[in-house]
C-alpha cells in the first residue's frame, strides 16, 4: 500500500492544514469524551491501571475533511482545509455539503481548488479508496492526507503522511492503490508567527515574568538540543562515509558543504565584538539586579539591627511620635 510515489509531483504542505486537522480531531474527541465520560470514569476508578482505563475509553474517532490549494505545473501546494460530513454506514462523504462548502470557499479564495481530502488514523485503509474514488470526479488525482493523532514522544517527525493514488497492475488486475508521496512544509511569515504562538501556549496562571522566562529558556534549550543532535547525526554520517562504510552520496556532500559555507559569517571579528558586547550587557544587568537586591536586603537588615540594638536610634520619620 505504501511504496514510494513515482508521479514526480512535489507536494508542499502549509502548517495551517495540519493545525486544522488536529483541531478538528481534538474537538470531536473532546465532544465524544464528554458524552461517554460516565462510562470512562467508572472504568478508570476500578484499579487505576492505565492499560485497563485506556481500553475502556472509546477508540479515537476518525475525522474527515477536504484539502484545498493550488496546483502549478508539477507543484501541488496545499493551503487550507475544511471539515466534511462523513456517513459511517455508507462510507462516503456527504456530497452536497462538500459542494456547498466549495462554493463558499471559492468566493473567498478564488484561486484555491479542491486538491484532495484528509483523515486521521495510522495508515491508509481499504475503505478510504472508496472515498478517494468518489473525489476523483472533482480532481482527477486527489491527494490523501493522513494525520496520526496518537502522541508518540519518541517520534521526532511530523505524523503526517500524504498518499497519492496510482494504477498498478497486481495479479493481472489493474488496481488503484495508495502510494506514499514526499512533501515539504511551506510557511508564510504569518503562519510561522501563529504556529510559534500556538506552540508556546502556557497555562493561564503562567503570567508572571519568572514562568515566562523559564518557558522561553526551555524552548531555546530544546531547540539547541535538537540542533546539536542533528549536527551529530550528520557528522557521524560523514565520518562513516569517509571510512567507506556507506557509499558516497555526492548530493548529500554538496548540501553539507553549502551548509558549512554559511558558517564563516560567525567567525568574523565584528560578530565577536557585537556578541560579547551584548553578552556583557546582559551580565551587567544581572549584576545590577543582584546588587539592588543585596542592597535592599542589607538596608532592611541594618534598620532591624538599629531598632533592636541601638538604644538611641534615630526614628527618622519611619515611626510616629505622639
Amino acid at each position: 500500500m505504501a511504496s514510494s510515489s513515482s508521479s514526480g509531483l512535489t507536494f508542499k504542505l502549509h502548517p495551517l492544514v495540519i493545525l486544522n486537522i488536529s483541531d478538528h480531531h481534538t474537538r470531536v474527541k473532546a465532544q465524544n469524551q464528554h458524552l461517554s465520560s460516565a462510562s470512562a470514569s467508572s472504568a478508570a476508578a476500578n484499579g487505576g491501571d492505565a492499560a485497563t482505563a485506556a481500553a475502556a475509553l472509546p477508540p479515537l474517532p476518525r475525522v474527515f475533511g477536504c484539502v484545498i490549494g493550488v496546483q502549478r505545473g508539477r507543484t501541488v501546494e496545499i493551503f487550507n482545509s475544511f471539515e466534511l460530513l462523513y456517513d459511517p454506514h455508507s462510507h462516503t462523504l456527504d456530497r452536497c455539503f462538500l459542494e456547498k462548502k466549495q462554493e463558499l470557499y471559492k468566493k473567498v479564495f478564488p484561486n484555491y481548488y479542491i486538491l484532495g481530502w484528509y483523515s486521521t488514523g495510522t495508515d491508509a485503509q481499504e475503505s478510504d479508496m472508496q472515498i478517494h474514488r468518489a473525489l476523483m470526479d472533482i480532481n482527477e488525482s486527489p491527494v490523501y492526507v493522513v494525520l496520526n493523532p496518537s502522541i508518540n514522544h519518541s517520534q521526532k517527525d511530523l505524523p503526517v503522511t500524504i498518499y497519492e493514488s496510482e494504477l498498478h497492475v497486481i495479479d493481472g488486475i489493474p488496481q488503484l492503490i495508495f502510494v506514499r508521496a514526499n512533501y515539504t512544509i511551506e510557511t508564510v511569515e504569518a503562519e510561522r508567527i501563529s504556529v510559534d504562538h500556538v506552540a508556546h501556549l502556557k497555562p493561564s496562571d503562567g503570567g508572571s515574568a519568572a514562568t515566562q522566562l523559564a518557558a522561553h529558556l526551555t524552548s531555546i534549550h530544546s531547540a539547541i538540543k535538537m540542533l546539536n543532535s542533528r549536527i551529530k547525526i550528520v557528522h557521524q554520517h560523514l565520518l562513516a562515509m569517509q571510512r567507506g562504510e556507506i557509499p558516497c552520496d555526492n548530493s548529500l556532500l554538496r548540501q553539507v558543504s553549502s551548509l558549512l559555507r554559511r558558517l564563516p559569517a560567525m567567525e568574523s571579528e565584528k560578530f565577536q565584538d557585537e556578541f560579547l558586547t551584548e553578552f556583557n550587557d546582559t551580565l551587567l544587568m544581572t549584576y545590577l539586579a543582584m546588587l539592588t537586591n543585596c542592597s535592599s536586603t542589607m538596608s532592611e537588615l541594618v534598620d532591624k539591627f538599629n531598632v533592636t540594638y541601638d538604644r538611641h536610634s534615630r526614628r527618622g520619620g519611619r515611626t510616629a511620635f505622639i
Partner: protein
Amino acid sequence: MKWPPAEPHSVEWTGEAYLSGPISSDQAGGFLLSVVDFINSCSGDQIRLAPDKFIQVCKRLKDQVMQLQVPLQGVALRTAIRKLQTSSEQLTTIHSDFLLLCILAKSYKTGLSILEDDILEVDQPRDLFLYYYYGGIIYIGLKRFRTALECLHNVVTAPMTTLNAIAVEAYKKYILVSLILNGQVPSFPKYTSSTAQRNLKNHTQPYIDLSACYASGKYSDLEAFIQSNVEKFQSDNNLGLVKQVLSSLYKRNIQRLTQTYLTLSLQDIANAVQLKTPKEAEMHVLRMIQDGEIFATINQKDGMVSFHEDPEQYKTCEMAEHIDSTIQRLMALSKKLRSIDEQISCDPAYVSKIGRERPKFDFDDFDSVPHRFI
C-alpha cells in the same frame, strides 16, 4: 626544654609547661623555638576543643617576641590562626596579635594572606577593632588605599556603646585615606552607631579642618595649614599620611580638569594646579596615566594633553568572566544576608521592640508610604 610528642596530649601539656611564670632571657631563645615547633605540629581539632589555653600560649609568644624585638619570629602565629579557626570566616584574638607583629616587623606582605579572608563571625568586639585597625595600617603601608579605607570603615562603623580610642585613631586615618583616595570624606552611613556619630568628630577636630581646607583646592593654603598643625599630626604618627594627602591634592585638581577640558597644554595645567613648571605637570600626568587614574595622551611636540574616555568597551571574554565571578560572589553574599535577616527577624529582642511601638500609633500620623513592621 623537652616536650613529649604533641598529638595525644597537646592541651594538658601546654597548661603545665608554658604558663609557669616569667622566663629568663637566656631561656627565651629556646622557649621561642619550642613554642613555634609546638604550634606547627599540634593538631587543630584538639586545639579547637580548648581554645583558651592555646590563646594564652600565643599571647605569651607575642609578648616574648615583642620584648626581644624579633617580631618576625611571630610568623608562626599565622599557622596558629589557621589551626584555631573553625572556618576561614571566623575572627580570633590571635588575628590582631599577628597583624601587630607584622606591622612591627614591617613585613606587610606576610599579613596579606590572613587579611584577604572575609570575616563573618566575631567573638570579641575588641578583636574586631584591633584587627581592622591594624589591617588598615598594613594596607596603607602597601599603598592599597581602597582596601585600607574599607578596613578603617569597618572600625568606624562597628557597633559600639561607648567611644573607644581605637575608633578615634581609626577615624583620623579614615579621614586622611579618604582624602587621598576620593578627595572627600563621606558622611556616616546609617549603620554607624549613634555613639560614633555624635562623638567621633569632637575628638578629631584638626583632621576635619584639614578636610575642609582640602576641599578648597588650593595647594598653598593646604600646605600652610599643615605647617601650622604639624605637632598634632606628628603626635598621632600621621605626618607621613598627611604629606601624602598634600601630594594627592595635585592629582585631584588634574582630575577635575579632565571634566572641563578635552585638551589642555602642559603650561595651562601647571598654572591651574599651581605647579611651578610644565615639566612637573608632565611628570604628574604621566604618573597618573600609569596608575590608571586618568586616561590621556601627551603630545610631546606641542606639549598638549588630550583627555579620553574610559576605553573599556566591555567587549572581551575576560570582562565576561570577571563579571560572572562577581555575580557568583554576590549571590553567595546575598544568601548570607538573607539568612542573617531571617535570624534577626526572629530575634526576641527585635520582636519585643517592634511590638512595643505598635500601640503608640495614631492613624493621622501615618504618611502615605507603606511601612513593613516584620
